[in-house]
Every structure is written in C-alpha cells, then in structure tokens.
Amino acid sequence: MKLSFTLNGVLVRADADPDERAVDLLRDLGALDVKEGCGTGECGACSVLVDGVHKLSCLLLAAQLAGRELTTAAGLGTVAAPHPIQRAFAEHGAVQCGFCTPGMTIAAAALLARNPEPSRLDARRAISGNLCRCTGYVKIVDAVCAAASELSEAPGGETPGAEDQA
C-alpha cells in the first residue's frame, strides 16, 4: 500500500506491506536513529513522536503513519545543530552505549512539551518506559532537568515536533 507522511519535516512517500511495522519502514527509509531493542513495546528504544505524541514505533503499523507528522531523534537536532536536550545528554554524561539514547531524548522531548519544569521524579516517570542498561539513569535525569531549565530560560525555546499536542 502507498502512503505518505512527514518525516522530520520532509514529506515522504512509501510503499509498505499491510502488516509492516512502522519501525521497519522508518529504518528502511534511512531513519537509522530509530532503534529496536525488543519489538514488543517493553524497552522504548524505538520511540518516536507522532504528531508530537510519544509512541513506540515497534507497536505501530506503517499504515498508521499515513498523513502524520513524525519526529525521530534526528529530527530533534543534529551533531552540527543539536537540540538542547541532545546537548544536555552529551554534556551531562547521559550517554554510554547510546543505544537507548535516541528513544530517551524523544521521551524527554515529549515530557518537556507538556511539562516545561519537571521535577526529577517527573523526569523519572516520563522515561520509565525507556530502558537503559548502562547508566543507572542518574545522568539522564540530570540531562533532562538541565535541558528543561535551559529551554525555559530561553524565550522561544521550544521542542521541535513536540509542541503541537501536549
């Protein structure tokens, strides 16, 4: 079946099998920042924003992306122009193997869009569906909180892709 949607701001057209999973389609389209850690909705590595809402792309069918606006980690920012959340992850040591990181930053972006001043517990709750086996989460929570204060201090600071639906 043919479908089209916006991937990180770019309109894409794709041909997908009816039972194809969104995570596979996205990776086939080159969105290799979307990781798969379990395929059953347990780990959060495949997190994406669909119209600004945090979703697990391993549990979505490709067909469900039709007409939507999709943001993956690469859509938040890049090495050259990182999103404040991504910069905070790097600066606060929140990244070890990095396999959970794209999903973590997506969960963080979704949180900050609906709660710009999260407490540490808020941050922990927001990422509790995203497993990380390396860090023990401390520095991830540090990073999320640091990004929150940076974003709320800078007027006009916003979370691309995650601002529409809080």
Binding site: L32, C43, A74, L76, P82, G93, Q96
Partner: protein
C-alpha cells in the same frame, strides 16, 4: 595539557545523543539476506534431548527460504568456545539446553526467515536432564557431556593458604552461612547481531557486535575449518555488552550462513526472546562459608565451598569461577584460607562472562559473614571492615603480596564521614508508618586483567593523517564504557592537542582486524589500562618523531627546542611554527605511523596456593569499593525501596570524572537490579522469564540517584595512574542491600534476589532481637 573548567563531553557523546552514531545493523547493506537459528527446545519443552531428525521440507517450500543447514553442513570441528571448545555451532545429536540450535535458515528477507523458521520441524527425543549442580554431581546423574572426563564436574579447583582447618578449630569466634545468588541476564539494549559476506578473494568480511573481534577469528576458524587470517571482523560501537558479547554469539552461525550465500551479504539479528533464550548469563552460585576471627574482630581463617552452575557449556565457566575464588575472602587480610570451587555442567541456560565476573556472586557471602561477625562481637560493621581491610604490601587471600595500589581503607573512610552514614540512626528512627528503614554497607574489590597464564597485551597504532589529524586505531571494542573516548582524551593530552577547540584533532577508528593491531578483548576492566598504556607509548614515539621531522623543515638542529602544540610544531625561541597539515604532507605514509605495545605486569613468583587452574590465576591489580545503601521496606508488601545509594570507588587516578561516575553508577544500577528484582527463572531448564515483560531490569523508577565518590588513588603502572573501574561497582549492591535489609527487619536473607515474597516471609518471622544477626 589543556585544562578547562568543564571538560568536554566524551568524544562519542554528541553523535550518540543525536542518534547519528551507527551500530552494527545500521551498517548492514539493504540487500542482505537474513539468517536465523532454529532452536526447538523451548517450544518442545525439552532442555536435554536427542536429535532424531530435522524436517526441512515445509520450510524449504516457503517462498524466499534459500537454505536450511544442519550439523551435517558444518565444516570443521563444529565446536565453539573461548577456552574450552564444547559448544556445537549446530547440534546434530543432542541438545543440551533449551536454546541449542539444530538448524540454520537462510532466507531472502526477515519475513521469509520468520516463516521458514516457523515451518521447520525437529524430532527430538527427551533425555533425562540435570538442573541443579548438586544433583548433577550425584553418581547416577545424567551426563551433559558424556565424553568429559570429570562427568558433570567441569572443573574442581582449590586455593589453599596456611592451615584453615586448624585455624578455624582454634578460632575464638566462628560464623557460618549458606548463600545462593541467581542467574542474571545481560539485557543489553542492542541484541546479538552482525552481518557478513564472503568476498570473491575468499575473505569472510564480518561486522559484529562483539567484545573480542581479534579472538573471534580463531573461534570461527576452529569451528568452521576456516583460515582465521581470511576472516576480517569489524566491531563498531556496541549497544551494550557487559560480558555477554565476549565469545561467539552470532559469529559462527553467521559465518556459516555467509559461506552458503553465494557471495551475497547476510545478516543475523537475535530477537529479544532469542537473546534471552540463547545468550550467556551470569552463573548462579551456591556458597557455603565459615569465617573465624579473634575476639577483637581480627580475621583468622576462611573456609568456603562455591558451586557454579555453568549450564550446558563451559564458555568461560572455569575462568569465572577462578576469579570468584580469588575474591572469596573479600578485600581483607585473612591468613588462612581454604577455598574450594566446583564448576558444574547442567542442562540450564549457558552461563558465561558478566561484569563482576564471578565476584558479584561471592560478595554477598563474605560481606554477609562480616556483618554476622560484627553483630556477634558487638562491633561497628564499618570499623570491623576498616580493621581488616587490605593495605598496600599485605598478602591477599590467595597469597599474592599487593605491590599494586590499594585504597580500600580510604573508600571506607569516605563512607564513615558521609552524612548518609553519620545520620543513620536518626534517619532510621524517622521511618514512616508501615515501613522500616535500614542502612547497610559493603566493601568489595575486583581483579583487573587476565591474570597469569596468558598475555594481557595491547598494541596501539597511531597515525598522523594527511589532513594533519591524529587517528587512533582502537583495537578494543567500545561496548559503551567509553574506552574509545578515553583513548582520544589520552592521546590528545599526550600529544598536546585540544579536543575542546578542535574535536577533530584526534579521531578514532573502531576495531577492524584488518587495519588495527590485535589487543585482546574488551573485558576484565583491562580495556583502558592495557590499551591506554600501549597508546601512550605510541603517542610518545609520535611526538618524538614529529619533533625530529619538523626540525628538518624548520632548520632547527635541536629537537628539544621544539614543542608539539595544538595543530602545529612550534619553535618558541624564534616564534616559527610548522602546521601539522604541512608536516603531514612532508612525510611518507609509513613514516606518519607509530605503534606502541604494552603487556600487563603479572604477579611475580606467584604463590603455590592455587590448584587445578589452567589460566588466569592469580591477579595482581584490583579496584576497590565501599558501598552504602539506605532502604525503606514496606511492611505490608515486602517491597524494598532504595532511598539512597553511595559508591566510593578506588579505580586509581581519575582520567575523566564523568566517565568514572558513569561506570560507578551503571555498575551499581545493575547490581541493585541483581540484588532486588532480577529474578531469572527456569523450571526444568526452561526459561520462565522469556521476554522483557517478565525478565525485568530496573527502570528509572526503581533506582535512586546513585552517588559516586572517587578516591583518587594512583596506580603507578596505569596509564596516567588509572585502573579499571568497570567491574567493581557491580559487586557492592547485593551485600549492601542485604545488610540494609537486615538492619531494617532483623533478618538476614541469604538467597538472592531479595524479592518482596522473601522479604515478607522474613518480616513474618519476627525473631526476637537477640538473634538478629547470627
């Protein structure tokens, strides 16, 4: 050396934070075939069985299925294993655990592979199995490897120092205890995976999520009768390893698939369930301990017996047990030791390397008895540990004299002075209704490197590229611990380059057996120590060379008058300089390369205390740690909440504080999971916790803000004084939490994990306080 107030982040951090970093499967070409193993045991509920046949007809009829290979198609020995080669690539006669593969399917796509695997049928006749090491050692027990001389006893070994029996008989105080520690799943987020292609020139080109690319070539070569030097392995950044990607996972299967793919690329990626079913686990261990001391708490003697369940195959079972035995008496002075170890085959899942390598299992036992001793003698548990803590120059429990750096006492002093410890009475007393609070601690250590009997060696290559940048040929895979970034930092410091101003000044090439030099595995807390030392030598040679070459171009007759500066060689006296870009063009490629090597020192005149060890005994270098836990126990549910956790670590000098804390926090987090909630369950060898919804690991809500304190020691042989810090953090939480739980409830739990059910049962015992800690 350039210092900044806030150091730049790890070299790999931003690429990973933005999702730009590429892992193994991200490099796989789109046209890859898919290969997958058929592991029928789990579905048939058979953990031990005779393979009567594999019916591939239906699978071969599935569109897109190209080949179904069985043991008959495996060239070579069909045996893999790092040290002990006892694990078939494909099982032809017998499956020895529920995850054993009997066939390999090669298909056009992931979808056709899935259908092909589902259509395969195997005829397997159940055999009686053994699932408990004690039962496995009984006379008439079914044999897992009938040809193995020792029956189901893979290895029985001993460490004997002094006369423990006599010393225990005469000891004024004796405490005893039996403990059991569970299997643990690595649960790295990236499952085992790789892709491979047989090139026209006969080279097998592989990219694998592996901790030991150089050694893998030999393991594959042995199993499949291939020339190891015609196998090329690349190891990009791993999505976690923790020991579980040390030794063949996908390697041999994938190589076999590639040999049968007519030159097309093939990928293999284990699904999470397959990763849990077939991946290596931490060994479950049963421990029986007796500890004797003077009335003042001075330790006299230890006798213990450790029984490691290695599951269906040896993997690194003997070596894991060896390290556990070497640590069995804790980081203390114990003059007399009798340590017995038995590593036993069963039909359980395969156990192997896991961060804390055998030591995480013994820590709850020796620390449990230290608490028991403190209670019996009415001594402060921290004081008791401080009194017996190993000091430089002491002899450890294997008889090795510690000529390396030892800062355990300082770790304990950090805890003693910390508010979480000094305020513990008041904090305990303020427990909310229906909860109890407890504070516990543990002192731990962990050996570094391979130990005696094999060369713990690294060879580092460094190039000044044509672009005037330095390129480090990293030979030791980075599974997330940040060794690659540490190498970039070490090189930048040694070469006086500033990563803050120019992150490209030092670049990294990840392990590639074709381009890098062999340097051992990413394991054993050796990675940064051994390769780092080799790299420093390469850097020193490079600096000397560049100054000498620049002297020619700058018309200077003394190299001492020159300085290596960021991006250039300077002649401060005249103010002239030669940019590295120009210098690079001036030199031939083979002159722009320096190679340094390092061999980890070993214990000289090793004591004659160990019996039956093949390799790895004893170790000379150790990292130390002291952990403190404050917990709250829910009286109604038995749930334990970790309120505070503090890890004070001696990992030698701290090169990068953030990376140091990452290791301390990450290790402690896995240790807390191991202690409290990771209950890996099997029944009759069949895994009950088959996916991540039942095989739990801690989420962000299960852990506190783990605090890390660094005791800034200095290991004279280490690169810039550092020691390995990756392993020790895992060893403290289980004993510290059991100690805190005893403080809260009056009951010592000796079987791990400390699940709510076990805690509730303990609470319901309500023993009188006088019998609290015996």
């Amino acid at each position: 050396m350039h210092l900044r107030s806030s150091p730049p982040p790890r070299a790999d951090a931003l690429a990973k934070a933005t999702g730009a970093e590429r892992y193994v499967l991200d490099f796989a070409p789109a046209e890859c075939l898919s290969a997958g193993a058929y592991r029928p045991g789990a579905a048939l509920n058979i953990a031990h069985g005779r393979v009567l046949g594999v019916d591939a007809s239906a699978a071969l009829a599935v569109p897109g299925v190209l080949r179904v290979l069985t043991a008959a198609d495996v060239p070579g020995t069909n045996l893999q294993g790092i040290v002990h080669k006892d694990q078939p690539v494909l099982c032809g006669e017998v499956i020895r655990h529920a995850g054993d593969p009997v066939a390999l399917v090669l298909a056009e796509s992931a979808e056709s592979l899935r259908r092909g695997l589902a259509a395969l049928r195997a005829d397997i006749e159940p055999l009686p199995g053994v699932f408990d090491p004690e039962a496995a050692l009984k006379k008439d027990a079914p044999l897992v490897h009938p040809q193995h001389k020792g029956g189901n006893l893979l290895l029985g070994a001993r460490i004997e120092k002094g006369d423990a029996r006599a010393a225990l008989k005469n000891a004024p105080v004796v405490v005893r205890g039996e403990f059991s520690t569970p299997m643990q799943e690595h649960a790295f987020l990236e499952t085992q995976c790789g892709f491979a292609r047989l090139l026209p020139d006969g080279v097998l080109d592989m990219t694998v999520s592996t901790q030991a690319p150089f050694r893998d070539r030999f393991e594959i070569g042995h199993a499949l009768a291939l020339n190891p030097f015609k196998i090329r392995i690349r190891a990009p950044y791993l999505g976690g390893g923790f020991g579980g990607k040390d030794g063949a996972t996908v390697q041999c299967l994938l190589a076999l698939a590639a040999l049968n793919a007519a030159g097309r690329p093939v990928r293999m990626s284990w699904e999470r369930e397959e990763s849990i079913l077939a991946g290596y686990k931490r060994h479950a261990v049963h421990l029986r301990y007796t500890l004797g001391a003077e009335r003042d708490g001075t330790l006299l003697a230890l006798s213990c017996r450790l029984t490691y369940d290695t599951g269906a195959y040896a993997h690194l079972g003997c070596e894991v047990m060896e390290l556990g035995m070497e640590h069995a008496a804790g980081p203390y002075r114990v003059p007399h030791t009798h340590i017995e170890g038995r590593c036993v085959y069963t039909n359980n899942p395969i156990a192997g390397a896991f961060r804390g390598f055998g030591v995480a299992q013994v820590s709850p036992a020796f620390e449990g008895l230290m608490d028991a001793l403190a209670a019996k003698l009415c001594l402060d548990p921290l004081e008791l540990r401080r009194k017996n803590a190993l000091l430089p120059g002491d002899e450890n429990c294997s008889g090795v004299t510690l000529t390396s750096s030892v800062h355990l006492a300082e770790c304990l002093d950090e805890l003693a002075a910390h508010p979480l410890w000094t305020t513990r009475q008041a904090w305990r007393a303020a427990a909310p209704r229906f909860t109890r609070r407890g504070v516990g601690l543990a002192a731990v250590f962990n050996g570094m490197g391979y130990g005696r009997g094999l060369a713990d060696m690294a060879i580092a290559k460094l190039e000044l590229t044509e672009a005037g940048e330095f390129l480090v040929y990293n030979s030791v895979a980075d599974m997330g611990q940040g060794n690659a970034a540490a190498f970039a930092l070490l090189a930048a410091q040694e070469l006086n380059q500033s990563l803050a101003e120019n992150p490209g000044a030092v670049r990294l090439l990840q392990p590639d057996t074709e381009r890098c030099h062999p340097s051992g595995s990413s394991s054993a807390g050796r990675t940064t120590y051994t390769f780092g030392n080799a790299l420093l030598k390469a850097c020193a040679a490079m600096r000397e060379k560049l100054l000498a070459r620049a002297a020619m171009a700058l018309f200077v007759d003394e190299t001492q008058a020159l300085e290596l500066a960021p991006g250039a060689v300077l002649h401060p006296a005249s103010g002239r300089s030669l940019p590295l870009t120009a210098l690079a063009r001036f030199l031939k490629r083979d002159d722009r390369v320096c190679v340094g090597e390092f061999l980890m020192p070993v214990a000289q005149d090793p004591p004659d205390t160990g019996r039956a060890f093949q390799i790895g005994f004893p170790h000379l270098f150790f990292s130390y740690g002291a952990h403190l836990a404050r917990i709250e126990v829910d009286e109604l549910t038995g749930r334990v909440r970790v309120c505070d956790f503090l890890a004070a670590t001696d990992g030698g000098r701290v090169l990068d504080r953030s990376c140091f804390d990452q290791q301390a926090q990450g290790g402690a987090a896995q240790g807390i999971g191991y202690a409290l909630l990771e209950e890996f369950k099997t029944r009759g060898g069949l895994i009950q916790t088959a996916d991540l919804s039942t095989c739990l690991i801690p989420t962000a809500l299960d852990l506190p803000d783990i605090q890390s304190l660094a005791v800034d020691g200095h290991e004279p042989t280490g690169p810039r004084g550092l020691k390995g810090v990756g392993e020790v953090g895992l060893n403290g939480p289980a004993p510290a939490l059991a100690s805190a739980l005893e403080d809260a409830t009056g009951e010592r739990l000796r079987d791990f994990p400390l699940t709510p059910e076990r805690v509730l049962a303990a609470l319901n015992k309500r023993r009188p306080p006088s019998r609290r800690r015996a």
